[in-house]
Amino acid sequence: MPRVLVLFAHPAFEKSRINRRLLEAVRDLEGITIHDLYEAYPDFLIDVPAEQRRLVAHDVIVLQHPFYWYSAPALVKEYLDLVLEHGFAYGSTGRALEGKVFVNATTTGGPEAAYQVGGRNRFTMRQLLAPFDQTAVLCRMAYLAPFVVHGTHTVDADTGFGPAQRQYRTLLAQLRDGTLDLARAAAVDRVNDVLGEA
C-alpha cells in the first residue's frame, strides 16, 4: 500500500479557514503521515537529512499549502531548495525520489474563473504551478494535476467547505489505496475533476 506524506505549510495556521479544515478532514486517515513544516521549522532551520529520510520513506508526496503570490509560502521554497539536493533528488546519481507521485493541494481566494487564460490571473492553475510540475519531473516523479479549492474568500467557513473536505479525504484515501487512475489524474486540469462529489 502506498505510503502518503502530506507536507503541510501554512505560516498562519490559526488564521487559516480552509487549509486547517482540509487538514482536519484527513488527520485521522490511517496510513497517512502529516508533517507540518512551519511547526517543525519556525526558525527556517531545516534538518535536511531528516527530511530526505522522510521523503524516501513515502511513495506519494502531497504538498498542501495556500496559494501565495502564485506559489507556495516561503518555507516551501526553502524546503525544496535545500532538501531536493543534487545527487539526492536529481542529477545522474540522484534517484532517491524516482517513481514517487507528487501532487500540489492548494487553495485560492479567487474563483475558478479568475484562473483561466483570458481571466484576471491570465493563466490556469496548472500553468501557474508549472515550476512544481517541472521540479517533480526533474526528480523523476509523476506529477498529478493539482487539487485546488477555489473561491475560499466567499465561502462560509462553517458550512461551505464540506464538499472540499470530502473530496480531499477521497483523494488521499485513493492515493493510499492505489485506486486512483494516475494517468487520468495527470492529464486533467484539476485532480478534483476525477474524484467526483464523494
Binding site: 535536511v48 535545500l82 532538501v83 542529477g91
Partner: protein
C-alpha cells in the same frame, strides 16, 4: 495544673490535632471538628480546660480579627464598589428584616420593644468565621451563592459599628453607669463621633502613606521573619488602637486590609497572616465549643432548644426571602439560608455590651449566649445536611455550575523572579497582551516596576500561600526566572506538588543545573546566558565580515546542536557523579561541539552550494534528465 500555659497549649493543640482529622475523615469539615474538640475538653467533657478560659477566648478572638484583615486584603476598593448593591441591599435587608421580625415575635411573646429590638439586632449577626471557613473548605466561596453570603457577612461586619452605638440607647434596666463601657462610650456624643472618625482616618491615611514605605524598607532587609513580624505588628497595633477607642478591632483591621489591598505587598501579607489566622480561628472554635454552658441547657433543655430552633428558623426565613427578593434561585436561596441562619461571634460581643449597659438581664443574656453557641455548633451539621439531602434535589447540570466568576487578577502566567531575565520575559508577555502576575523578593525592584505600571508583588514564590494567592490554581504557565538555583528547585517542588497542571518554563544558570532539571523531567530549561552569547557570536561573525544571513544560520545551527547536546548529555550525566561518567560526558560534549563547529563543511545547506552540480556539468555532457534546474548558480 490548669494554670500551666504550656500544658494548656498542649491540651488545645492535641484536641485540634486529634479532632480535626477525624472530623474530616467523617466528612464533617474542620470547623465542626474544632467545635466538638472544644466540647470534649471543656468543663462538660474531660474538664481539661483552665478556669481562665476567658483569656484563651480573648486570644482566639484575634483569629476573627485576622480573618477580617485578610478579607479586607481581598477586597480592592473597586471591587467593594462593585459589590455595593449586594452589600447594602441584600445585607441591609437581612439585618433590618431579622431585627424587626425578631422584635415583633418578642413583643408578641410579651417582651418590651426595646430589649426585643436589641435581641433582634444581635441575632441578625451571623458567624463570619464559621461560614467563610466552611465555604472555603467546600470550595464554594466563588459561587454565586457564595458571593451573596459574602456580601451579607460583609454588611453584618460593617453594621456592627452602628449597632454598637445604638445598643446602649435601648437600655431599660438600670446598671451602674459605664460599668462595662470604656473608651469612646464614656465621652459625649460629638466627641465620640470625632474619635471614631479620627481612628478611621488614621488607619486609612496611615495605610496609604505610611505603611508602604515601611514595608518597602522591611522588604529591603530580605529577612522574611521580620516582614512577618511587621505584618503581625500591624494587625495587633490596629486592633489595640480600635480597642482603645472602643471600636471593633475586626472592623479596624478589615479597613486596613482594604487600604492595603492595592499594595504590592498584598500577596505577601496574605501569605504571612494566613497560618496564624488558621490556628487562631481553630482556637476560637475550640473555645466556643468549650464555652457552651451545658448546665444551663440541662436546666431548661426545652426552652434553650426552642430558642435555638426559633432563632435559626426565623433567620432562615428572612434570609430565604431576602435572597429570593434579590433574584437568587430557590436552591441558592436555601443554601444562603442554611449557611447564615446561625448567630455569630459578634453576638457575644454585643450580648456583653447589652448586659453591661442594662439592655438585657443576666439570665436572658446567659440563655442567649448558650443559644448562640449551640446555633454555631449546628451550622456545620446543617450545611452537611444541606449538601447531602437538599442539594441533590436541586442538582443543576455541571455546565451551569462551571460559569462561576473568576476574579480579575487571575492571569494565565505567573513570573517568579523579575530581575535581569524575568523582567524581559514579563515585558515581552505584556507587550503580547498576556496577563502576567509578577513575584519578586526585591522590594526596590518591585517599587520600580509598579511605578512603571506593572502588576508586581513582593514575596517569596516558594511559599505555597503566596503562589496560591497569586492565582496559581488558575494560571497555566509558571515562569521561573529567579537567580538562585536552590530557590528554583524548591519552587519546582512546590509547584509540582500543589499545582501539577502548571507548565514550567525554567531559567538555569548553566549546564549542570540544566542537566539536573532535564533528568528530573523538566523539558523547558533555558541556560540564562546562551541567548546572549549567541547574539554576541552573531555580532562577532558580522564584524569579521560574514554576511548577515550566513551568520544567522550559523548561530541557529550552533544553538540547535548545543541544545541537543545538553539533552543528550543530561541522560549520561550519572547519578553516580563518578569520574568516569563525568569524563565520558565531557568527551561526548567535545565531540558534539566539534560537530557543531564544522557544520559548514559537512551536511549543511549543501543545496545552496553548487559544487557537485558544476562538477557534473563539466565532467559529463549534460543530457536530458540530468540537466540542472535553471538558475541554480
Amino acid at each position: 495544673m490548669h494554670d500551666n500555659v504550656l500544658l494548656q497549649a498542649f491540651v488545645y493543640l492535641a484536641a485540634a490535632v486529634a479532632a480535626v482529622p477525624i472530623a474530616r475523615r467523617l466528612g464533617m469539615g474542620a470547623v465542626l471538628g474544632y467545635l466538638l474538640a472544644g466540647i470534649v475538653i471543656g468543663p462538660f467533657g474531660l474538664r481539661l480546660v483552665a478556669e481562665s478560659r476567658e483569656d484563651v477566648l480573648h486570644a482566639a478572638e484575634f483569629g476573627v480579627v485576622m480573618m477580617l484583615f485578610l478579607i479586607g486584603l481581598e477586597l480592592r476598593p473597586s471591587m467593594l464598589w462593585r459589590m455595593r448593591v449586594a452589600v447594602l441591599g441584600l445585607g441591609g435587608a437581612q439585618i433590618v428584616g431579622t431585627a424587626l421580625l425578631a422584635a415583633l415575635v418578642g413583643i408578641a411573646a410579651g417582651s418590651a420593644w426595646k430589649p426585643a429590638l436589641a435581641v433582634g439586632f444581635i441575632i441578625a449577626m451571623s458567624s463570619t468565621a464559621i461560614v467563610l471557613q466552611s465555604l472555603a473548605e467546600a470550595g464554594r466561596l466563588r459561587t454565586d451563592a457564595g458571593q451573596r453570603i459574602f456580601s451579607i457577612l460583609l454588611a453584618q461586619d460593617i453594621s456592627v459599628i452602628p449597632i454598637l452605638a445604638v445598643l446602649p440607647l435601648l437600655a431599660t434596666l438600670h446598671v451602674g453607669a459605664g460599668s462595662e463601657a470604656h473608651g469612646v462610650a464614656t465621652l459625649p456624643g460629638w466627641q465620640q463621633a470625632f474619635v471614631v472618625l479620627a481612628a478611621v482616618a488614621a488607619i486609612v491615611g496611615g495605610g496609604r502613606f505610611l505603611l508602604r514605605p515601611v514595608f518597602r524598607a522591611i522588604a529591603r532587609t530580605k529577612l522574611r521573619e521580620v516582614f512577618t513580624a511587621t505584618a503581625l505588628l500591624l494587625v495587633v497595633g490596629i486592633a489595640l488602637l480600635m480597642q482603645a477607642v472602643g471600636l471593633s478591632p475586626a472592623l479596624g483591621t478589615f479597613l486596613a486590609g482594604v487600604v492595603l489591598a492595592d499594595s504590592e505587598y498584598r500577596h505577601e501579607l496574605e501569605g504571612d497572616i494566613e497560618p496564624f489566622k488558621g490556628l487562631l480561628l481553630g482556637l476560637f472554635f475550640i473555645s466556643v465549643g468549650a464555652g457552651i454552658d451545658f448546665r444551663l441547657v440541662a436546666h431548661a433543655p426545652a426552652a434553650i432548644l426552642g430558642l435555638v430552633v426559633g432563632i435559626m428558623a426565623l433567620k432562615a426565613l428572612v434570609l430565604y426571602g431576602v435572597a429570593r427578593l434579590f433574584r437568587a434561585t430557590t436552591a441558592d436561596a436555601m443554601f444562603v439560608a442554611a449557611a447564615l441562619c446561625q448567630v455569630g461571634e459578634f453576638a457575644f460581643v454585643l450580648l456583653a455590651l447589652a448586659r453591661g449597659s442594662g439592655v438585657l438581664g443576666d439570665a436572658e443574656a446567659g440563655r442567649l449566649v448558650a443559644a448562640v453557641a449551640l446555633s454555631m455548633l449546628a451550622t456545620p451539621l446543617l450545611l452537611l445536611a444541606q449538601s447531602r439531602l437538599v442539594e441533590p434535589r436541586f442538582a443543576v447540570p455541571a455546565v451551569e455550575r462551571g460559569a462561576d466568576a473568576i476574579p480579575d487578577e487571575d492571569t494565565p502566567v505567573i513570573v517568579a523572579g523579575f530581575g535581569r531575565v524575568g523582567s524581559t520575559i514579563g515585558r515581552l508577555l505584556r507587550a503580547s497582551g498576556v496577563g502576567t502576575t509578577v513575584l519578586d523578593l526585591d522590594g526596590d525592584q518591585i517599587e520600580l516596576l509598579r511605578r512603571m505600571g506593572l502588576e508586581a508583588y513582593y514575596g517569596d514564590a516558594t511559599r505555597l500561600e503566596l503562589l496560591t494567592a497569586a492565582g496559581a490554581a488558575n494560571a497555566r504557565v509558571l515562569v521561573l526566572a529567579v537567580d538562585d538555583f536552590i530557590v528554583t528547585e524548591r519552587l519546582i517542588a512546590v509547584a509540582r506538588r500543589h499545582f501539577p497542571h502548571l507548565q514550567l518554563i525554567v531559567r538555569v544558570p548553566d549546564r549542570p543545573e540544566a542537566y539536573t532539571l532535564l533528568r528530573d523531567g523538566i523539558s523547558e530549561v533555558f541556560r540564562e546566558t546562551t541567548g546572549t552569547a549567541c547574539d554576541m557570536g552573531f555580532a562577532t561573525l558580522r564584524a569579521l565580515g560574514h554576511r548577515a544571513f550566513q551568520a544567522r544560520r550559523a548561530v541557529q545551527a550552533f544553538r540547535a546542536h548545543d541544545e541537543q547536546g545538553v539533552r543528550v548529555l543530561a541522560g549520561k550525566w550519572g547519578d553516580d557523579t563518578s569520574y568516569m561518567s563525568e569524563a565520558r560526558a565531557r568527551i561526548a560534549e567535545t565531540e558534539q561541539l566539534l560537530a557543531a563547529l564544522s557544520f559548514v563543511d559537512h551536511h549543511f545547506d549543501l543545496a545552496w552550494d553548487n559544487t557537485t552540480l558544476r562538477e557534473e556539468a563539466q565532467g559529463r555532457s549534460p543530457s536530458g534528465h540530468t540537466a540542472g534546474p535553471e538558475g541554480t548558480d
